[in-house]
Symmetry: C2
Subunit: 695 residues, 2 copies
């Protein structure tokens, strides 16, 4: 911090010693402002906005609503911050809001059109104006010329939803960013301002629905005292266009209702849910509905009474009526079902196609197992034409290194959204009429997401749910520009780093279609050797099936034939190892260690190569980031640097522990030039992590 | 937010709509900056500082250290922020640092002297300069004229310490501000910047020691992997003058050391602790030492092996040697001891006076029970002249309404510090040669303490440990001025509100010397009826002993005679109800419901009166605060308002539930004009709070 000049007999400390403006001295960059920093513009972008000299107008048809107020306040705040001065009363560049344009639907759609002396924002609703406001500020924050804006935007999916796995006691299941942001204890009397900041962040990327509690739900959250709490949140979020949903425990009529059963066909049970729904709607007129995890991983459900998922979902749907929606999760697998876990959800749900009520949505994870670093798309997509299917993605990185590994997930979601189901539509096309849910990664950490780069996954989720045709690159670029720096030299380096980051994780954790090789319970670190857990499908060895002869899960006709659940063209392509992309190879096929790969390497050599390339990619990210120090404030730069150091260590751990284990199974040498694992297999097996977070 | 004028056909939004400077738009007041906001000055104070035109100088003898760098950076930051402009290179008002003045001790002492063109800061160490820097900024933030500063300050107590009851999993025992601020999982690789902000806040009020983990300690925190983590914190905090301590589990040699015993006289045990201390000092050369809770509430200790507290403490003291200190808690009571809990610590410890090693401190809570809203000073103070005694206070409000009740604790600590022990010294005089520890109230909440006003308790603790002669009023005034507003109209209203707040809590919870009447386990809300817990001293009825004839705990000769543990003059005064201040009456005496009080009321009428006055005081606080809206930003004003509403409800709950219970015991009517409890006793007894925080 100080040079030798400080040794002068009586030195004056130059003001440049801490050359910060007061606005910067007040509070350091700590990530709390997310992508909504509205950092002051500079250079040509600043000159353009200054010359435009914005002032906010709105027409008389614009609804006199809190939402309109928020849009205008946000415009004033964002423009003033980017200009580094308050807006002038006599500004000449009109930001002209028309928030009740009959030509536009009231679903949040908007149009932005720049001209020499005005930017016109047209919308069919005040919420459309709010969305348009954020779009305008997003463009300006990236340095766009207000005069040349020309954007027409409409939400692709009606339901753009966050699912919080937050327990009422503040613990977040699979949460890596501290405690829950929901302070249920003090609600409804006290509501943390963070609840507003949260709603604002969501609105800025188009998220319009939030399930506030864990799908492993506590029944008491349906009690009157919690409805009061939820109502306060609903009131606070309504102006931001967000509807609240509750995860409902299916056994609630027994748990808190005093009934002897939760059988969905029992009239008293049906009456209880109807009364409960009425009670909720009395407090929250726009309550979204229930999210339900039933008959999965020990949760109660209709099958406890010999009923189907459709019986259970339709009973709740009837209770809600036209007022709301039941979102029923398809993530089911059973300890009584010995078939391939991959095949169970399809087997349970597809036969029910057409039986679900109109206000039921079946929520399907991107893949058939469980949010692994890479999974092929779920075979249910496209296979239930008479059922409303919604995509469930995971923003919190349960299987991708928690918050300390940098993995930008947009490429993963892009991969699934663009996948052709073979039923005449991509996954995006199947789900767009319905929606997309993301398991939230928020927590009490100052930066919300546990790391600065994990904010990008929250951002990307919202942007993709709004428009699944956006490219990962576009999203990365706009996020990084708003969050860190709009300098082209920064973006040209950080964007490719983000785009390659998820593939790096796939490679150092589970390359070539491997999956589910993580530590038991906490899901932290590698544990391919685990084979002694009670239920077969809990064991990593269930998934990799490695022995001296080969490795991989045969899901073709010669194996479990789960592949038959895919549309014929897809199934045919993946039935043959030769026509299966190597990224899925071991997901569908069991092959010998000598299996020849397209690269010319053997399977074993290719596997080692992928692990190595994953590790190398992390090292390259760390190098790139080190070079970006001039563009990022010291505080956030150091935080990312420290995370990358953890990731570099853990990538090596994944590679070395995995290789040591595969060697113990196949007895093979590593290819020439490959460094040996840093420790013995026994060492890796001996590691325990009782304090790992998120369990 | 908007008036009717918005209905004009095409309205321009005045820039004043959100008349915020960019510095304010960037981040709202959220309490994170605590009392170190350095809000821009205004009026005469601004003119004076502008005219002084400060610039920072330092002499060549000043140590070239991180601490000096921090002091200078803080000066630049604070002055620039208060001036709302960077410091001028050619400033004429020298802030002249002399940080190696041989005339001043190196214990953090400093002198500040203003003159027409300079403020001279003299200190015997760079740490003294850092403390002086904060003192200077504190004065300027209150509007002082730099030219007329004249302060000589030295720490009264050498050890000014925070004890964190933070578990390594992030849960804070008796924590009401979210999750722990310590992220053990990611340390040492990743250290949250909050750890620096925390050290800075502590340094600004003179705190110089931190025990990082709960006294109900996990042994694994002594393992090598945690020493690495702790070392990173120690390195980060060293420049701020903070030494780290660890709470050590006495059974660690068995738990993690592989030994069959933790007997303090066992040579292998002694060798284990010596080796452990050496291991820690190799990583942390200035490690402070161990904090130990032994043989209390189920924690292991030397008595498990038939040894004394002195045996246990001295064994650890030998392991540390001259390098560090053992802080041994006197908070002990035993399930095998049927005598008055009040008397147990004294009975166990006072006979050991003179037997503790020189580097052992015995840490004594302010009162003999457990951080109740009011307790008489602990009889151990003054009774162990050959032992180093340290005061333990509780900043987190386990028994004073958690973070949602406003209770400024300085008056409580002032009460105990100024108490005459009867042994020729006040409690402050007994403990000043040693130190003062406070159980921290920090957490992951944005405002650190769970509420804005709880920050004042952290602040007051540090200020009193530095100078126990400071008045609560002085502390309240300087805190409120820095934290909210220096406007005299604000301070003249908020300071009396703060000063009376703790007495309000005493009155609506446990007036007239009552104690320990809270709910079981979580300590939330009233439960005077509880009488069925396994151990007698866990039961509220053990403490109040109310029946049809009277109420109170007889600790005189006719009762448990715990009073005999006090010095004769004190014991004599408190032996007679007539010479006992009513605030202690039922603590020492059992009296009839008709007992005449100095007020002229009967005990019963006085009790009711006190409850009512507690409730009325909370209502008055809410009124005062409502009137202070013009002085406080909307965000923090609303947060405090909402807390006061909770407090008003809960004050009534405490009063009404208590009165309903007392009436069930004494069968008496309420005095005329007193409103009846809002609910029946059965109702209050039926309430359960499984989700109450902090347990």
């Amino acid at each position: 911090m100080r040079g030798k000049s400080w040794k002068a007999p009586f030195a004056v400390v130059a003001a440049a010693f801490l050359a910060l403006l007061p606005s910067q001295t007040a509070q350091a960059e700590d990530g709390y402002d997310l992508w909504l920093r509205y950092a002051p513009l500079e250079g040509a972008a600043l000159e353009r906005l200054q010359a435009f000299n914005p002032v906010v107008h709105f027409d008389s048809a614009t609804p006199d609503s809190e939402t309109t107020d928020i849009a205008i306040a946000e415009l004033e705040r964002g423009l003033a911050s980017m200009l580094a001065r308050p807006l002038a009363d006599d500004g000449q560049g009109k930001i002209a809001l028309h928030c009740a344009d009959p030509a536009l639907p009231a679903d949040g759609s908007f149009r932005l059109a720049g001209a020499a002396d005005a930017v016109t924002l047209l919308a069919g609703s005040d919420l459309g104006c709010l969305y348009g406001t954020y779009a305008l500020l997003r463009e300006l924050a990236q340095g766009a010329d207000p005069r040349s804006l020309n954007i027409a935007s409409a939400p692709a999916m009606p339901l753009r939803m966050l699912n919080h796995w937050d327990n009422p006691d503040g613990h977040v299941e699979r949460g890596y960013a501290g405690r829950s942001i929901f302070d249920w204890w003090h609600l409804p009397q006290r509501m943390d301002e963070r609840m507003i900041d949260y709603a604002r962040a969501n609105a800025s990327i188009g998220i319009n629905a939030v399930a506030v509690n864990n799908v492993n739900a506590r029944a008491f959250m349906l009690e009157a005292r919690y409805i009061e709490k939820l109502a306060r949140l609903a009131d606070a979020w309504r102006p931001y266009g967000i509807r609240v949903f509750l995860s409902a425990r299916f056994s609630a009529p027994r748990d808190i209702g005093g009934l002897p059963t939760a059988d969905p066909l029992d009239p008293a049970v049906r009456a209880w849910w109807k009364a409960k729904a009425d009670e909720i709607y009395a407090a929250i007129p726009d309550f979204g509905g229930f999210l339900v995890k039933a008959n999965s991983e020990g949760q109660p459900g209709p099958q406890d009474y010999g009923r189907t998922h459709a019986d259970g979902a339709n009973m709740l749907a009837e209770a809600l009526g036209e007022r709301g929606t039941v979102i029923w999760r398809a993530f089911v697998y059973s300890e009584f079902d010995e078939t391939d876990r991959h095949a169970q959800a399809y087997a349970e749900f597809v036969p029910l196609d057409g039986q679900f009520a109109e206000n039921v949505i079946v929520q399907v994870k991107n893949g058939a197992i469980d949010f692994q670093p890479r999974e092929p798309f779920h075979p249910m997509f496209g296979a239930m034409p008479h059922t409303r299917l919604m995509l469930e993605a995971q923003i919190t990185k349960e299987y991708l290194g928690f918050a300390s590994h940098l993995a930008f997930l947009a490429p993963m979601w892009e991969e699934v959204l663009r996948a052709d189901t073979g039923h005449g539509a991509t996954v995006a096309e199947v789900t767009s009429p319905v929606g997309m849910a993301g398991v939230a990664n928020t927590g009490s950490d100052r930066n919300w997401s546990g790391s600065d780069f994990d904010q990008a996954n929250w951002y990307a989720f919202g942007r993709l749910a709004w428009d699944p045709t956006l490219s990962s690159e576009t999203i990365a670029r706009e996020w990084a520009a708003q969050t860190f720096s709009r300098a082209p030299a920064f973006l040209d380096s950080v964007v490719p780093m983000m785009l390659g980051s998820r593939e790096a994780v796939v490679n150092y954790m589970t390359p070539l279609g491997l999956a589910h090789l993580m530590g038991t319970g906490h899901h932290y670190g590698p544990a391919p050797w685990v084979c002694d857990l009670e239920r077969p499908e809990w064991n990593p060895c269930y998934y990799h099936r490695a022995d001296a002869n080969g490795i991989g899960f045969d899901r073709t006709e010669s194996g479990t034939n789960a592949l038959a659940q895919y549309a014929p063209a897809i199934a045919a392509q993946w039935a043959d190892p030769a026509s299966t992309d190597p990224i899925w190879l071991l997901w569908f096929h069991r092959v010998s260690w000598d299996h020849p790969m397209p690269s010319g390497r053997s399977l074993w050599a290719e596997l080692v190569h992928r692990y190595d390339s994953g590790v190398a990619a992390v090292d390259a990210m760390a190098d790139s980031w080190a070079n970006l120090a001039p563009f990022v404030d010291a505080r956030r730069h150091r935080a990312v640097t420290e995370n990358l150091a953890i990731q570099a260590n853990e990538a090596r751990w994944w590679r070395d522990a995995s290789l040591a284990y595969w060697q113990s199974v196949n007895g093979r040498e590593l290819p020439a030039g490959t460094p040996a694992p840093a420790h013995t297999l026994d060492y890796y097996r001996s590691l325990t992590f009782p304090e790992a977070p998120g369990n």
